[in-house]
Symmetry: C2
Subunit: 358 residues, 2 copies
């Protein structure tokens, strides 16, 4: 049996994809690409190229366990880690690492989001194998860095040392979402990559890093190391996980550790964070439209995205740079360039107490 | 018992209101005004101010009998006339007149569409009573004429003699939908009215007119005069009605008869023929929008109509002069000024064999 493991993080909501994504039906469970498979199914199947299915684990919120089992019926209950609360990525990753380390103290793991898209699967798997051989041999925290194609201000950036080490580079620093001018300079320098949030390390390496930089989280979650992979695990997690600090892995570990490495990569990645990014990543018709519905008739519609479920017929005319998202109980017709307002809209809906639509 | 009867014509589809109106759910059965009642219910209740419910009859297509009973549960089966085929208004009116004449040879009747709106009910009832006293005393065919408010090119016009006869005027001629220039001249002259398709006459008068001008229709439908209002009526109609000429009452009778009268009227009438006319007739918010849905958030939306059913939440931004019609299985987002293209759209859908949406 290989010592390669994968943990897929699937606990978020993907709220910028509202009204498609909901509290009760997050983005990763949607066929957001219109290909007949949910993002989590695509992610799972992608990792089957890396390790056997027995070695793939899902970390999710307890309320999505049934959804995970529905989308990935091959998984056993022990492969689905259920968080009782949303405490950001650091506790999530510590939990996954502890559980895998208990299974296999020699585990060499990948941890990755469930809701990104990767268009060049072979490049991706090749890059992961390169990272896994490096992490196997070194006490290293490896993060995949995407070669930037444009000065995106919505991503975090990784500044890396240009001197080569078999394609694996030491990370100098992480930079949060930069202003446009800075993003342009990053792009021009050639020393910056997008932070994709895909990590590779031995469980011993990451647990060592938690011991150094985020002792509190480790102390809480490792209070009963024998419970992992036993019937007592869930009760222990339900009681203790909520007590951990709510902090991202970037803040808790990556920005502090000095054994962080990156591999400059290029495998058609997008975090698919918003409707506009879906439009960017999807195949468009001759008018620049992405049409995800069974039946549509459009005239004088350009650079727009139209999504409707359940075989709905959509007739549209005179829409330019729009998104039309029909989700049964909610219809959103909105200029694509204003999609950042979705957060305000959902807040407005919350304020009005129309919670059935969230 | 009064000799006043009402026959409400409810056999059409109102196809210009697609996708709200369908073959299986015509316009008159829709709450198109967003008031909680269908147009046929509003029409029926309006006529309750004129005569007892026992004297109100519905002429509809056989396939809508169940819908009529659902919307108007007070009616008996004998009050619902079921046409086996769509043969336009002349056979429909002949059938209604023969049946009412059989019930009451002295019947003085109103025949009117089920899918118009009338905002000033008292004026309407007063005008009908005026027309009914005239038709009671004269062998006259009375049609209500609406004083035109603008040079509408979608209506037929009635040219009337200005000399008064207790407010009832002789009709000189009918004119089909005129070009704009002509409609403007009609409006300026003061001698033209809109033809509302609401007729008042004694059954003896209209049957007399059929005898003179449309003998063929009368001959077919009056072949078995004793069958009306008996268990044999439906079988007779099912066999013979389809054989009648498909022709409107205007062409068959009104344009030929010389005993046609009109009463210039003003009771907030609209034939509510299209989505734009619904927009015109409805209460608008401060941005000129007509919003018929339970929950909506709009920003930078003006002069538009938004309709959604089943408690759907609609979020829209950046739409001007649009209609957004969500009907569960069909979503139409279309410039209001292009609504005449709906006919082409439904033809296109038919051509594509997407008949489930018609």
């Amino acid at each position: 049996m290989s010592n390669i493991y994968v943990a897929i993080m699937a606990g978020g909501v993907g709220s910028r994809f509202w009204p498609a994504s909901r509290e009760s039906r997050p983005k990763q469970f949607l066929d957001i690409m219109g290909v007949g498979k949910s993002l989590i199914q695509l992610t799972y199947e992608r990792f089957l190229n890396l390790c056997p299915k027995e070695n793939i684990f899902i970390v999710t919120n307890g309320m999505y366990k049934a959804l995970v089992k529905e989308h990935l019926p091959d998984l056993t209950d022990n492969q689905i880690l259920c968080e009782p609360s949303r405490n950001n990525t650091a506790p999530c990753i510590a939990y996954a690492a502890l559980k895998l380390h208990n299974l296999d103290p020699d585990a060499n793991m990948v941890i990755a989001p469930s809701d990104h898209i990767i268009l060049q699967e072979k490049n991706f798997i090749d890059t992961l194998n390169q990272a896994l051989s490096f992490s196997e041999k070194n006490n290293a925290l490896v993060t995949l860095g995407i070669r930037p194609s444009h000065p995106n201000t919505g991503y975090g950036y990784i500044n890396f040392e240009a001197n080569d080490q078999d394609g694996v580079h030491k990370v100098v620093r992480f930079t949060e979402k930069p202003p446009l001018e800075k993003a342009e300079a990053f792009l021009a320098s050639g020393d910056y990559l997008w932070n994709a949030g895909i990590f590779i390390w031995k469980t011993s390496s990451i647990l060592n890093a938690f011991q150094q930089h985020a002792t509190g989280i480790l102390k809480i979650l490792n209070a009963s190391p024998d419970c992992f992979n036993t019937p007592n695990e869930q009760a222990f997690i339900d009681e203790n996980y909520p007590k951990t600090e709510r902090i991202s892995i970037d803040y808790a570990i990556m920005e502090k550790a000095n054994n962080v490495f990156t591999i400059p990569s290029d495998f058609g990645w997008s975090d698919l964070g918003t409707w506009a990014s879906l439009h960017n990543e999807s195949e468009k018709n001759e008018k620049g439209n992405v049409i995800h519905c069974k039946y549509a008739l459009t005239e004088d519609v350009t650079n727009s995205i139209i999504r409707a479920t359940n075989g709905k017929l959509v007739i549209a005319k005179g829409l330019h740079n729009f998104m039309v998202i029909d989700e049964g109980d909610v219809l959103l017709i909105y200029p694509k360039d204003n999609e950042q307002e979705i957060k305000g809209i959902t807040q407005n809906i919350k304020d009005k107490n129309w919670n059935q639509y969230l």
